[in-house]
Symmetry: D2
Subunit: 337 residues, 4 copies
């Protein structure tokens, strides 16, 4: 860390800072500039040290130098990770496509969708059985019945099942049926839930919170990794900005950024990231071009009758055409390397 003193900070204040740095088990190093003094704190960083220094008198700012996450970092692992479940693979050159409806609505709906998305190239099936809804009056999902329908679809198609778990009390139940546990954007910093899925031996798809910074996102992953579960996929699904013409703003620069910082695979969600069916294919293909390790797409047999999120769902034909574009772009880029 670098502790920047205020202009005019006294020698005594600088000394207190240096002593605090040393007391924290770091090594202080004072540099006197023309306008300000800075104190470098050398040693391994722990996040709350920042607070301990920021509060001292005469301190203007504390600038962290090292990333606050460890197990999630690319530096520590040295190479990208690949997450594999059944036929699904994502990361380290593998590309995985997760497709399916926002909500599981019926056995027929989910089976039809599973067959269609598999035929078009998906390797995992998404579908919500427990639905986090902004309003308590909205449809909340079929719960365990929905999970059973998903499991039945897996049994027929061998697609990996990706479904959301909303609370610690549901983790065992969901893990009984699902292959990948999804943590929704609203729960990205629900630490109890992160710990609970960290203790389960199944891969986790962690969605970025709508206003999470990258450090917060990677530290949320760190909570899971820290419990002993190494199989975390990061899902960029859009951030909340002033833009009104899309549901969220989908920042694809997250892909090169995360690939530089972490070994965890990066999955893009153009359905939530845009909120409009007509934008989904273009943004799916763009995500591939940006280097994403996979996609998660909402697909419904008849979006106009979907119980949730129909306005951002592809129908089977739309998904198939999107996959064709995805595939030609992947092949084209592969031909160069």
């Amino acid at each position: 860390m670098i502790v920047v003193m205020e202009t005019g900070a006294t020698d005594a204040q600088v000394k207190v800072v240096a002593q605090r740095v040393d007391a924290l088990g770091l090594k202080s190093h004072v540099i006197v500039g023309t306008e300000r003094v800075v104190v470098a704190a050398i040693g391994e960083k722990r996040e709350h040290f920042k607070d301990s220094l920021e509060v001292l008198e005469g301190v203007s700012a504390v600038v962290p130098i090292v990333a606050p996450y460890k197990m999630a970092s690319l530096e520590v692992r040295g190479e990208p990770s690949c997450i594999e479940v059944l036929d699904f693979k994502a990361g380290a050159g593998q590309f995985g496509v997760i497709a399916g409806p926002c909500s599981v609505e019926s056995e027929d709906q989910i089976l039809q969708t599973a067959r269609a998305v598999k035929a078009a190239g998906a390797t995992a099936l998404r579908g919500g059985a427990f639905k986090p809804r902004t309003s308590p009056y909205s449809f909340q999902g079929l719960k365990e019945d929905g999970l059973k329908m998903l499991a039945a679809a897996r049994d027929e198609t061998n697609l990996a099942i990706v479904t959301e778990v909303m609370g610690t009390g549901d983790v065992d139940l969901v893990a009984k049926y699902a292959d990948v546990l999804q943590i929704g954007a609203r729960n990205m910093q629900n630490y109890r839930l992160l710990e609970a899925v960290g203790a389960v031996g199944k891969p986790v798809l962690l969605k970025r919170g709508a206003s999470a910074t990258m450090d917060e996102f990677l530290l949320a992953a760190e909570y899971i990794l820290n419990e002993g579960n190494p199989d975390v996929m990061l899902c960029e699904r859009g951030i909340r900005t002033f833009e009104e013409h899309t549901r969220f703003t989908l920042p694809l620069a997250s892909v090169p950024y995360l690939h530089r910082k972490t070994h965890l695979p990066v999955i893009i969600d153009p359905s939530h990231g845009t909120g409009h069916t007509y934008m989904v294919p273009d943004m799916a293909v763009a995500a591939v071009a940006a280097g994403a390790d996979g996609l998660i797409l909402e697909v419904h047999p008849d979006p106009s009758s979907a119980m949730s999120d129909g306005y951002q769902s592809l129908n089977f034909e739309g998904f198939e055409r999107t996959m064709q574009r995805v595939n030609v772009v992947r092949q084209a880029l592969a031909s160069l390397s």
Copy 2:
């Protein structure tokens, strides 16, 4: 709702929309404009109807007319609510001040603080026993030991205890010691937790999520109210924006807005809302002037040694001076009405 059709939508598409509106139990009303057709949907609104209409072909937008929350609305209750616990009162003209450290650190620390803030005019004591921390490596709180220290402070001072509950598994434990259950900003849309505190007979302080819209905030309150718990306080603690010179951006216009829309009391948190001790007094007084029903302030015997959030905590003297300013402004404004 108002369903706005695309320019060039066909008569058949308009007809499908009108039929869907009627099938939802609403009454459709078609208006033909010079450039576009709109279909008004008359009747009581439920949120997921919006989705059901937005997905239809030829639809450009669906504009809700009525607020999606009911029990939280001022219209429904007709007058502001006041939440009372021990000596703490907030809402409907009553002003409540919650003060105390970010984290409970020791019995001595919390008792000292309780006495000091009570002497300066606080009616409730805050203090974190379960701490949601961005990093798994940061101090996570004293847990039940911390709760016991808070309870001891209440027993001596009669201050109401306000403390955070992070997971459904902790609700009973926290409710055993606390007078007011706090839901942190990161858990504002942790619906399982909202339901759990809704089922407990204790008041709830619900913090606004850092990127929550007002409708989302009020619907989160609605989740709690909907479980039968009428005692919810709304806490504005700042939103995430592009600003970097404050930890969050604290939008005090939330006060007049919420007072117009809901009967629930509005508490302002200038400590998290700014992230800098030196800004807290000015923003606390500004909150009072804006009409807030209460404040929640971080106060620590020695902020420079605090285990968390010291950089935004007042010391006892700073709190006392802030309370003086708060009081003269309240009196001055009261003299006018």
Copy 3:
């Protein structure tokens, strides 16, 4: 427009609104819902009518139905526009690449760059002669000398020259040398400047303001079109959000959105949109995949010695490799249609 009345609005208030609507030359149509009354205003919309209605007593909100821009809209023109200057073409299926340094620094620098980017496939040369800088103490550009160097580069290479004009007083001078006048993001709502470039017979590259909504962006274009200049290109260069790991957040969903709303070509700027050289190639290729009509990229012979923006500039080799990826993706996608 739809005027939504407050719950409890009186009949007299509704009547005043209806009369105001009629007085504005529109036709009012009152719809009585179960909870609220809405007044539809039928007829051609003008923006300030919204204000005139929003101020009336009892009005809750005014919802515009029709886009506020006309000449920029796809509806009005019916088909996409292509902007052509020298060898540069963008829009309606044509793809144009503008490349070059942030600032023109010397004749040698700009000539070298012009040759290199042309060889790799660019059809226009960018380079700042008048530089808008956040600080008055930063390098402000070579001014007319820079313009002359750009013109010399065009004379040799036939690349179209794209350069920024910062003030109305410079329009004639810049237009004397440049082929395309660039309006920077900070001047997107400098209406005097928009009018001035609208009166010049040269194409304009209009950059989106860092916090401009799409309606504001298209209305800025409308200012130029309204002065009789039909040749406007829209440049998405990123928006300001809470994200700190990129200079701006680059929302590629702007491409499908703008293609749906306007006939004007859409150019993406991944250099400013990310602010980091290492992200530029991925985002350039992603922009192509999203359907952009062109790219503008910062390229410098030696970014580490650039006088401005070197941290987001490609060197010649980086540009050439980016163009290879751009080209294979364009071909791959073309093979499907």
Copy 4:
């Protein structure tokens, strides 16, 4: 500046950085940490040095230590400035109130308003003669006729005239009639205009751009100061965020922040900052409580017939009551110091 190297940066890369630092006329100082090397650059900072270092290989980040503005800084001047024109004073303990309509509409309207706001305590009169409008089809102001009406109102009331100048071509004309030149939020980074008003001997009211950081805001002021005009007032008028229930988000923490960094007076605009008449009084009083040096408020004889911004304008009675609240709060706070 502190140059943070990447983990794994080579000695050669560190050496290049240190050499560049020295070549820039600064003094380099290398600190070897356990995970990373940092290079401190000691000496007076100039903004573009940051760029020059950021581009070097092996550099992870460059952290500025000193503020980029000079003349605007409190450090340099040592005490707050007060701007005085006619009866208007703001800053250094003086509180100035600027009130009046969004647009000058007629002599009668502006004279009536001038008398009413003066009677209630305003010391300056605002009114737009040149109106920057999002749409080219909206009312653009009465131009010189409007300026003459403003001047007539000043002649009668001695209120200082504050009015916007939109382009360099209008500066002389506006300066002929006005006492304070207003730079609108959209033109905050119109550097040609900043230079032009910097060369005029009249005070300037500089509005913060809707997505400007504080450094950008203060550097815009620096452009004006740098031309020799010392009389700049900073106006916070709200920033663009994801919030939809207000026109902008008005961050009152700007007041304590700016008072800590700059000697220039800080004026708050609750009219644009909220966009709703009913919020204006609460936020005006809150601004005073936060320590603002003045207010600018939209006041219109009959907001429901205003040609622009009526929905955020106070009528005379609303302004008078707001001023009563403002005054009692100012007195109450003054009684404490």
